[in-house]
Symmetry: C2
Subunit: 225 residues, 2 copies
């Protein structure tokens, strides 16, 4: 079987996860400290090596599961990073993935257990290897995606207020938007449904809670924000 490609060098292949969350009106990334030398203790993405019997997508899912205990999370590939010396330990080609999760779904015990923290994407520390580049590229891809596909709901609770949704867009795109114009656009999307429930945690008056109805959203529905 392996005779076909004899003589070629094999390389360690890893996946690194850029896990986005939204909290206190800020876009955050879940990062921790590297457990191994070289670079032990440096800020780092959570990653893992790709095994022979799993696809790279499966490796990313498995790695995310190890860290968060979550499955069926929205994940997309960012790209492959393959400078020769990107990892000082050994040649490693790494494939970056970004994931969107609802911060509230993440068990706080796990934060300490894995020594990871939610860090504001606007104030990232220095990081191991090319991990900051990975985050920058992941953010850029996510920004493009969020303008044309309804992925924002992955970052919010299933019930959310319009202000929350607006703050999320503002955090992702890095600029404020007009409240009335924003709500006008939302109103035209019938897959964002107003409920009769009211959230009073963030104001005295209370704000209606909305939900995303993914059945009402048909692929091909046009979506622009």
């Amino acid at each position: 079987m392996t005779i076909y490609y004899q003589g070629h060098q094999k390389i360690l292949v890893s996946v690194d996860c850029i896990i986005f969350g939204f909290e206190h009106n800020k876009l955050k990334v879940l990062i921790g400290h590297r457990a191994l030398d070289p670079g032990k203790g440096e800020w780092s993405l959570y990653g893992g090596f790709v095994r022979n019997e799993e696809s790279i997508d499966d490796a990313a899912d498995r790695t995310l599961f190890e860290l968060t205990g979550m499955r069926n999370v929205y994940m997309r590939q960012v790209g492959a990073f393959g400078s020769v010396n990107r990892d000082p330990g050994e040649r490693v080609v790494s494939i970056a993935y970004y994931a969107l999760i609802n911060v509230k779904d993440y068990d706080t015990k796990l934060l300490k257990e894995h020594d990871v923290e939610w860090v504001d994407i606007e104030s990232l520390p220095q990081m191991f290897s090319d991990h900051r580049e990975m985050i920058a590229k992941a953010r850029q891809k996510m920004q493009e995606k969020i303008r044309t596909e309804p992925i924002s709901f992955q970052l919010l609770p299933s019930l959310f207020t319009l202000t929350q949704l607006q703050r999320l867009y503002e955090a992702v795109n890095g600029e404020e938007v007009d409240k009335r114009n924003f709500r006008k656009r939302i109103k035209e999307m019938d897959f964002i449904e107003k409920t009769e429930l009211i959230d009073k945690t963030s104001s005295k008056r209370g704000a209606y809670l909305y939900r995303f109805n993914k059945n009402a959203f048909h692929e091909g529905t046009n979506f622009k924000l």
Copy 2:
């Protein structure tokens, strides 16, 4: 050195090149026949394995050079493809890159020498492994890019007519555009310069030749087509 990551499986990593060209008003891809079993003779992208001492980008440049003899070609990563059984010979993770070249710069002798052909992207044959998916994704990425960055000139001779440029956009985007609206937009871009030269190969009257002045194009110039 290698002690750090002991016990993890190494994998063959390859690059595959999607080489785009533009000819007879059609967007084309340069593909050939696979030289090795398994799959010998099937239509296939041109690729190569990544060596330990080169980055993945360098591997892609080298592979393109082997096939075309060209350097400094516009190339961008498409992404990593890593299903377990994507290659029936052995586990291979492949990173796809697309390249844009001017068909006229490609030596026709090399076509036969490497047994490759320019094939219309609208009528691709069945291909080895996931190569059609790679092409589809590459095309999609290239489409997005060509709308916001002046990369179309990579596919044309250094002097070109506005009709040629328009046909290129139409081929890439798969839909016709209005001639006057197109030319109006071009006129506003002062980095697309009209010369006094006239091309008479495609009409009796003759059409002015234009050139792309990359010095006049500053990063951050807004560009929309």
